[in-house]
């Protein structure tokens, strides 16, 4: 909700904290492009929540081992675990609990369809459809959809105080948000009905019959598709739609519910970006999109920031080595100044449409890679002090 507060007031008020963001969220979705520290940030937020006494879950769909590495959890890579949907508890000395889950897209999609299919034979038929085998996890948006479907299930279960979702490193982070709508569009009655013939015994339409009953435009389009892909593909497509027709209403309903919770007031988005100009530009675009689409975009986290040390800049070195060190600092500080302009521009852009509670963090470059729970604990403390 946008409050009627000037940009200057928003930027000059006492900065909202990451702890405040954690407390008012049930779900925190970390978005951003690749290589910005999204997974590490998600893990550190989970640790912070556990230290605040909450029961937190961090989940990722990313098949790369980033979350496992960040948490120091080999178990997440266990092939046996990857066939289950059970989270793993992270060993952490904290008043709360931290759990982690690596989502298995194929398994979630199968379980989802199975749950929606009242008839087990129907699910068996769908799972054997050659298109389903190819499409279920490679369907454009299916990985994102399965992440959101699991998120919905966990949100409704109320088992966790906070769920932190590390989104896939999509080429465009916006893909994640448009996935439900894209898949929902496919399961509209107005589309699947073209593949059905209510007069035939099994309800299926045959390829020659399509031409007789659909509109001319669709007939031409389907014939074009046949030219491009061959008749066998169309037949598999017909079988696929016939199979899912019985469950498409539930699929649409579930997708609609996913869309609803993405806009719920306790579901917040955090945009994670890096300090490089390319990343900052991409972040600006993503910030605009989040705000224009009405999501509760409540945090900007700029990672790998250079730490300004005026005391180092003013130092009077007594050795040649000390002089070289101060020279290096000056060069890095000048480079940082240039980038800071880009960060300020994004802040101003976001502040125009942000709530008073918007969190902005500038997280300093750490001296070493953040790996394991102890490093994450230190990083989560840095978050508490990293207000821009």
């Amino acid at each position: 909700m946008v409050e009627n507060t000037s940009v200057e007031q928003k930027l000059s008020s006492p900065p909202p904290s990451i702890e405040g963001l954690i407390q008012r969220s049930k779900v925190l979705i970390c978005v951003g492009t690749g290589g910005v520290g999204k997974t590490t940030t998600a893990a550190a937020v989970g640790v912070r929540a556990a230290e605040m006494g909450l029961k937190a879950l961090v989940l990722t769909i990313d098949p790369a081992k980033r979350l496992a590495t960040a948490l120091g959890l080999d178990e997440l890579n266990n092939p046996g675990l990857r066939t289950s949907l059970d989270p793993v508890q992270v060993s952490l000395d904290a008043p709360g609990e931290l759990w982690a889950m690596l989502l298995n897209s194929q398994l979630i999609f199968d379980r989802f369809l199975q749950a929606q299919s009242a008839d087990p034979k129907l699910f068996e038929r769908i799972s054997k459809n050659e298109l389903y085998v190819q499409m279920s996890t490679r369907l454009s948006g299916s990985q994102e959809f399965t992440a959101l479907e699991m998120l919905l299930r966990l949100y409704e279960s109320k088992v966790y105080d906070l769920i932190v979702l590390d989104t896939p490193p999509a080429q465009h982070a916006v893909d994640f948000l448009t996935a439900p709508k894209r898949i929902q569009a496919l399961f509209q009655d107005s589309i699947t009905k073209w593949f059905m013939n209510p007069d035939s015994q099994d309800g299926l339409i045959s390829l020659p019959l399509i031409g007789a009953i659909v509109g001319r435009g669709t007939r031409v389009a389907l014939r074009s598709l046949e030219i491009l892909t061959g008749g066998r593909f169309i037949e598999a497509l017909i079988d696929f739609f016939a199979s899912v027709r019985a469950v498409q209403g539930k699929i649409r309903e579930r997708l609609g519910r996913v869309e609803q919770i993405l806009h719920a007031p306790d579901v917040q988005f955090a945009l994670v970006t890096g300090f490089e100009s390319a990343k900052l530009r991409e972040a600006a675009g993503l910030a605009s999109l989040l705000q224009s689409q009405g999501y509760h975009f409540e945090a900007l986290i700029v990672n790998r920031a250079f730490v300004i040390r005026p005391d180092v800049g003013r130092a009077q070195p007594q050795t040649e080595s000390g002089r070289k060190l101060v020279e290096l600092y000056t060069e890095l500080a000048q480079d940082h100044e240039l980038r800071l302009n880009a960060v300020d521009q994004i802040r101003l852009q976001i502040a125009e449409n942000a709530s008073k509670q918007f969190v902005t963090l500038r997280v300093p470059q750490q001296g070493h890679d953040v790996v394991g729970v102890e490093d994450l604990k230190n990083l989560s403390l840095v978050f508490s002090r990293a207000h821009l």
Binding site: R66, M135, R138, L186, S224, T319
Partner: protein, 291 residues
């Protein structure tokens, strides 16, 4: 020489401050560089094109269906639009199809000696390269299946395709890059090459840090010296781990190291790297930066 960017927005347009036959929207000039599907000269010795899945698919379908009227019906039909929007890997295949169209002689001519593609990050890049195989399995017959098989053959031919993996001197990027190269090595016949990028040049050796500890009295300077020393140690370890991992492959993967340039514009950065690569004395090692 053609540089290809993939997607809906251009990084190069902003980074290199280019002007060209495209219109832009939004605060970033590259954000909506529409109309950059056709390659245009950059004035830097190469042409640039921005290829999205949609623009490539439209061009491809028009090429196959021949009739513009038929193509319009196809793309304006909501059934087709819904299918196209979710079809697995279809956009990726369309993009790869466009990239390889010149050598396959499919579609509008593409007369370049070399095409350099700025790929997405490793996870998405792997999906891009695997897409034609997946589509060929799903469709199996028809022109799209045939063209997909052609693309797979080209990707597996080291005389045609080379892969340059760019990494940062940090533990996680090194791990992911090595895994990516290993996966691609197994699945495709790319000629492989690797770049360790943005290596911060720290003109201090361990003796310098000892000298600072022993000879400086300013606590801020000493503290910062320790931080830089720690950073340098981590950076050096990442570089060494990367190089060692690349030697394990058969054949071993060659690599070079590029410095992190400070306070340069995008154009200056590209020119600086180009000059470094052209230098006779540059052998790809960190020591050669100041040669």
């Amino acid at each position: 020489m053609l540089l290809v960017e993939i997607g809906e927005s251009s990084f190069a347009v902003d980074h290199l401050e280019l002007s060209g036959p495209f219109r832009t929207e939004g605060a970033s000039r590259g954000a909506q560089a529409k109309g950059a599907h056709q390659p245009f000269p950059t004035g830097l010795g190469f042409d640039l094109a921005l290829w999205s899945g949609e623009s490539c698919l439209r061009e491809y379908v028009l090429h196959l269906l021949k009739l513009e009227k038929l193509y319009k019906v196809f793309f304006e039909n909501k059934v087709m639009r819904a299918l196209v929007n979710v079809a697995p890997g279809l956009n990726d295949v369309a993009i790869l199809g466009k990239i390889t169209s010149g050598i396959r002689r499919v579609g509008p001519p593409l007369h370049y000696d070399h095409i350099i593609v700025d790929c997405p990050s490793t996870g998405h890049a792997a999906a891009l390269f695997r897409a034609p195989q997946g589509l060929a399995q799903a469709i199996q017959v028809g022109p799209m299946a045939h063209h997909s098989e052609q693309m797979v053959r080209l990707l597996k031919d080291p005389k045609t395709s080379a892969l340059v993996t760019v990494c940062l001197p940090e533990e996680m990027p090194v791990t992911e890059s090595v895994e990516f190269i290993r996966d691609m090595h197994g699945e495709f016949g790319f000629e492989h090459f690797a770049v360790m990028n943005r290596v911060l040049q720290i003109p201090l050796a361990s003796e310098d840090f000892d000298s600072i500890r022993a000879g400086e009295t300013d606590p801020a300077l000493i503290e910062w010296s320790e931080q830089i020393s720690e950073f340098q140690t981590a950076q050096t370890k990442a570089m060494n781990d990367f190089k060692a991992a690349l030697q394990v492959f058969e054949p071993a993967v060659d690599s070079i190291v590029l410095p992190r340039y400070l306070s340069l514009s995008g154009r200056q950065l590209v020119e600086s790297i180009a000059q470094l690569l052209l230098r006779d004395s540059f052998d790809g090692s960190e020591e050669a930066f100041n040669g």
